[in-house]
Symmetry: C2
Subunit: 432 residues, 2 copies
């Protein structure tokens, strides 16, 4: 096992820089490598432009141990990675006949003939290994020089991912690049700002100078990442410190690891054989989606109604007409009636609801755009609360969903703090 392995990732493609697509390859590679104890040090995104590719590649290759490139291996004229990197390395391209055979077999299966520009894909860096690509035409390339590893992967996700898992990961292990165990622990919290969280945790963390601490905030969640420099402690120490932090955070603590709040809330429900239903207005389906993203959701999630019209609320949820006559659609009373209506009409133990103004239009001076009322029906009573969010329509929707699910989680964990860990596991070691 090598320490301090420097991994740089270079993604090619104009569409990433033009904002047409999120860089999902970076997230994927980051997660997969981290799972085996490797961290990406730097990421570069460049256009399909020979000069930029060469400059960035040289910079990375100079002081990295592993360089991974994605994209630019295709058959069209804007695919320049292969040629440019060969030039930067001072290595020739070599025609590999076994790649041609594979390519022709693939085209024959599809009833097509190989074109001249496809044959370009049979060229591989001299001395490199061509990685087979059962899902496309561009083989991957694995090249070693001076103890460094260059891994070139095709751009499409359905080609890159199987190739990475089947061919690249075993090779990284063979070359002894994997760490055996991850020396880090992540705590996820909700509802405490980043700096307040640091202040809260300081009494515990100041007595652990061996720990590196990192914070990351997103949509109301703040993740705290505790990691150990090599040889300064054990996973058991890390876990003990993590548990101290958990106790201190109380109900603001969501979980160890990378689980969604909905996953945590549902594991509580499942542990108690309880079910939930939803009635959502301003969140428009996104709240239901947070629950149904969790595999096995159908054990606990009974269903939901997205009500965009008043009539929907009355007809589908059996809400007394008098409630909507006496109170506004966006009000505490309607939120409770929606939650109770959802629980009753889906015969579930819990009912969760949202009603509000996501914008850009709607709202009033008293209840401006961004106002959301939440309702929660439980076997032991019903609650409501109001939050004023800022941001555009999609931000309000996303934040309202997180706030709703976290509110449910708090109500559930208040009485069952430790139950869920048995089902969920720690986000440490290789068990994330």
């Amino acid at each position: 096992m090598k320490h301090g392995v420097r991994v740089d990732v270079i993604n090619l493609g104009d569409e990433l820089l033009l904002g047409l697509r999120d860089n999902g390859h970076l997230s994927y590679l980051g997660r997969e490598l981290k799972r085996h104890g490797l961290e990406i040090r730097r990421n570069f995104v460049v256009r399909d432009n020979a000069e930029d590719i060469q400059q960035v590649f040289k910079n990375a290759w100079e002081d990295a141990d592993i360089v991974i490139t994605t994209g630019g291996l295709g058959p069209t004229s804007d695919d320049l990675t292969r040629e440019t990197i060969a030039k930067a390395l001072g290595v020739k391209l070599e025609f590999v006949d076994s790649v041609r055979v594979e390519l022709e077999a693939r085209f024959a299966r599809l009833g097509r003939t190989v074109t001249a520009n496809n044959l370009k894909q049979c060229y591989v860096l001299d001395g490199a290994e061509a990685l087979p690509n059962p899902n496309g035409t561009a083989p991957g390339i694995l090249f070693k020089q001076d103890g460094k590893l260059l891994i070139m992967l095709p751009g499409p996700g359905n080609e890159l991912r199987p190739m990475f898992e089947r061919d690249v990961l075993p090779r990284l292990q063979e070359e002894n690049f994997f760490a055996l165990e991850e020396q880090y622990l992540q705590l996820r919290s909700f509802g405490v700002g980043e700096s307040l969280l640091e202040n809260k945790l300081r009494p515990i963390l100041k007595s652990h100078p061996e720990l590196k601490v990192g914070y990351c905030a997103h949509e109301g969640l703040v993740d705290v990442r505790l990691s150990l420099a090599n040889g300064t402690g054990t996973l058991a120490d890390l876990r003990a410190t993590g548990e101290q932090c958990m106790e201190l955070l109380g109900e603001d603590f969501v979980c160890f690891g990378n689980h969604s709040i909905a996953e945590i809330a549902m594991s509580h429900l499942r542990a108690h054989h309880q079910t939930i239903a939803i009635a959502e207005s301003c969140t428009g389906g996104l709240l239901s989606n947070a629950f149904t993203d969790v595999p096995g959701a159908s054990q606990t999630f009974m269903g939901s109604v997205v009500c965009y019209h008043e009539d929907t609320k009355i007809e589908h949820l059996g809400i007394p007409e008098s409630i909507l006559m006496q109170h506004d659609v966006v009000s505490a009373e309607t939120a409770v009636a929606l939650a109770t209506g959802a629980a009753e009409s889906f015969s579930s133990d819990y009912g969760l609801s949202t009603t509000g103004f996501a914008g850009p239009t709607g709202g009033s001076s008293r209840e401006p755009v961004g106002t959301v009322y939440f309702g929660l029906h439980t076997p032991s009573g019903a609650w409501t609360h109001r939050v004023q969010f800022s941001g555009d329509r999609l931000t309000v929707k996303a934040r309202a969903v997180n706030a709703a699910v976290d509110w449910l989680r708090r109500k559930l964990t208040k009485y069952q703090m430790h139950d869920a860990f048995a089902n969920i596991g720690y986000g440490m070691g290789s068990g994330i």
Copy 2:
């Protein structure tokens, strides 16, 4: 207007390299800049590590005209951007008292007192301008040196985006960095593979060698981007070529520009004063969400039921019990019954439904995981079709949603091909 402006973006944050989050800032900045004729040349993602930040920043600053950084301006100890970049530029940090006043006022409004680590955020590069941050504590920083512009933005999206739009964009215009008109046109298609699309369009595009053509595929959509090098043609030429491509693509053509398929489908419905309701099973709320993401959705979207249990289908949608007794829940018959049930129970003109197996468990040998049946109820009849998707749970959900909305769009556009453009506008010039 300057030509060939070199823009580099540096994103800070371990979480991006560990795969905990997609780099949404890059996509956002890419889109916003492109809208004004600026393209990001290179993107660097680095850890919160002084050495890496310094190395990458120096590399970028050396030959860029504009460098934008995101993140690392927070109050916690791992926020190093400000100090590191000041050092790299050889510039001192200066305490800006007006930032302190803002900060204290903000904390007072929230009933909290400013902590020592928050005061760190009052330091700004000597000679730089502090950009106010109404949604957070870290001000942005705008710094000029030798005709170059450094723009440092806070990490949270709800702080970065308003600051970029309110303060940074006007400044870029002032400094004359914007191109006046965008010389490009984007066509969005659905259902044709990237290389087939290239072959289809070749007869038209080969007679326009002045056009640069780029393709980008995502979740069944393929965008074609036609752009003109400076001075080689006019927007009217571009538009004429785009319209030829549109005619050729027929119903596979979705729109010009960057609109979602749901936006296009809803503009058709709105133009004809028609409404829609949804009954979704395996897509679990995400299909409804695609519609409710569109501002003004409540004019056409009546509501939906997410049915995860058979009972839901019967009770909430009035589906005859006999259908579920004679046919599987995942079947063509159930899909049609759901669509019709949705339309009837929400009194809408159209009803759209999904029922299938998103995985990872479920399915049968005849209907494996990834099978989805779609149902569509219209004023002139009901249809159903079946698609077999591959990929994990979230991929199946996302692809099924795109397929469902696109199917609706095709049915609507078949009879009303040109109606929608009046409402939607072209994705060209600054009108995207």
